[in-house]
């Protein structure tokens, strides 16, 4: 099945027959025709396919939204809106706090935007967790609301991955260029782990290991594995939060405290993993993924316990 057919199959699941006929099929036909017209020009052809399929994905997302969230009424719609509102506010506050003067002392104001991408891997999980706990805490969470929340958390994870894998290295380079441009000084320094791309990190790990600098190699390896594990935090924390809020009505202060507790625990586990891997020769990847596995495991245990309790209550 090629990409064209795969996209059409996904669209057929989310869109109505009318939407398929009036929206998806015309858009896919346009991509094919333009691609055919661009034969012999490979880059033009690739650009056409990229923009065309992105447009189709946009239409699929719109159809999915209209079929799901837009039709929600009453409690479900309000709960989802509350979760998005709390999550968005928490995200903004966290990001702004992380680039506020006490946190980034000595950085001129005009250079603060370059630091924004570095706030995303922390601000997104905090936003998602607070959004779920505070928005959905104390309410009955039906299955479609859970699915929509997890879909949003997955989008948050995708955003976090984009930040760690691409935006942060690019922003780091841009920051160096800006300093060179404004001060007129050549900044000669080696790139830190945050500013390197994934392939640069792998090469650095290899060269550090070969030259016998094992501690630095392990430190770089930890940073490399964290780059892939940390973006899973929004989805994993959302999963955990949904398992907890589904249990029973919560008192007012509990959701906020639980959200903060969950986020702090996640990053504490990551800090513990950092310390352990620096001082021992235990496998780095296993420890870096430990927080994700711990929260997924906790969600599973809570959900299974809840199901067993319900079954015994019904019996």
């Amino acid at each position: 099945m090629n990409l064209h057919e795969r996209l059409r199959a996904i669209a057929a699941r989310l869109c109505t027959a009318t939407a398929m006929e009036r929206l998806i099929d015309p858009a896919l036909t346009d991509v094919q025709l333009e691609h055919w017209d661009a034969q012999g020009r490979p880059w033009k052809s690739r650009w056409i396919r990229l923009t065309g399929y992105l447009a189709v994905l946009k239409i699929i997302a719109l159809c999915g939204y209209e079929r799901t969230v837009a039709n929600w009424r009453g409690d479900e719609g309000r709960a989802f809106a509350r979760a998005v509102g709390f999550g968005g506010a928490a995200f903004l506050v966290t990001a702004l706090l992380l680039i506020s003067p006490p946190a980034v002392e000595g950085v001129p104001t005009n250079q603060l935007p370059y630091l924004l991408p570095q706030t995303l891997p922390l601000a997104i999980p905090v936003g998602v967790t607070l959004g779920v706990f505070c928005g959905l805490g104390g309410t009955f969470v039906p299955i479609r609301l859970k699915r929509a929340t997890l879909a949003l958390a997955l989008a948050g994870s995708a955003g976090s991955l984009t930040a760690t894998a691409w935006m942060i290295p690019v922003a780091g380079d841009a920051f160096m260029e800006h300093v060179r441009f404004t001060t007129g000084k050549e900044v000669t320094r080696t790139k830190g782990a945050l500013e390197m791309t994934a392939s640069e990190m792998r090469r650095t790990i290899g060269s550090l290991t070969q030259s016998g600098r094992r501690r630095e190699a392990r430190k770089m390896a930890f940073a490399y594995h964290t780059r892939w594990a940390l973006p899973c935090a929004p989805f994993v924390l959302a999963l955990f939060a949904l398992a907890v809020v589904s249990r029973r009505p919560l008192r007012r202060w509990i959701p906020g405290a639980a959200a903060c507790g969950a986020c702090v625990s996640y990053y504490c586990l990551l800090a513990v993993a950092d310390i352990v891997t620096r001082r021992t020769v235990l496998p780095i990847a296993a420890f870096v993924w430990l927080p994700n596995l711990a929260f997924v495991g906790a969600s599973a245990v809570i959900s299974i316990t809840e199901k067993n309790l319900k079954r015994s209550a019904d019996a």
């Binding site: 009318t18 939407a19 009036r22 929206l23 099929d25 015309p26 858009a27 036909t29 346009d30 094919q32 025709l33 333009e34 691609h35 055919w36 017209d37 923009t51 065309g52 992105l54 447009a55 189709v56 946009k58 239409i59 719109l62």
Partner: protein, 104 residues
């Protein structure tokens, strides 16, 4: 006895642009509308707008026979309805009365 209120016919900026383009050339494909609009219409949302306009009765669409190239897929062509052209005319003249600068 309650009197039936007439349906208020609205026209957004994108819908009026589409009707203007269609009234000039009578029938166009979606991609042609995107190209003719000089990026004011996006290929991701033009079909959503066209679908909405068809529901309102401002345009009609039909599948044209497949061209001989590119897999021979049929294409949907769009043309304005009499109602759509009347709404465009009313909207444009109304706007020129309310906002004289618009008419210049």
């Amino acid at each position: 006895m309650t009197t039936r209120r007439p349906r208020v016919l609205t026209l957004s900026a994108k819908e009026s642009l589409i009707l203007e383009l269609l009234s000039a050339s009578n029938r166009m494909y979606g991609l042609q509308l995107v190209a003719a609009s000089r990026r004011r219409l996006k290929r991701g949302t033009v079909y959503v707008t066209l679908g909405r306009m068809e529901e309102k009765g401002y345009i009609n669409s039909r599948l044209e026979g497949p061209p001989s190239k590119a897999g021979g897929l049929p294409r949907r062509v769009y043309e304005p309805t009499a109602l759509g052209l009347r709404v465009l005319k009313a909207w444009t003249s109304g706007a020129s009365v309310l906002i004289p600068e618009f008419a210049q």
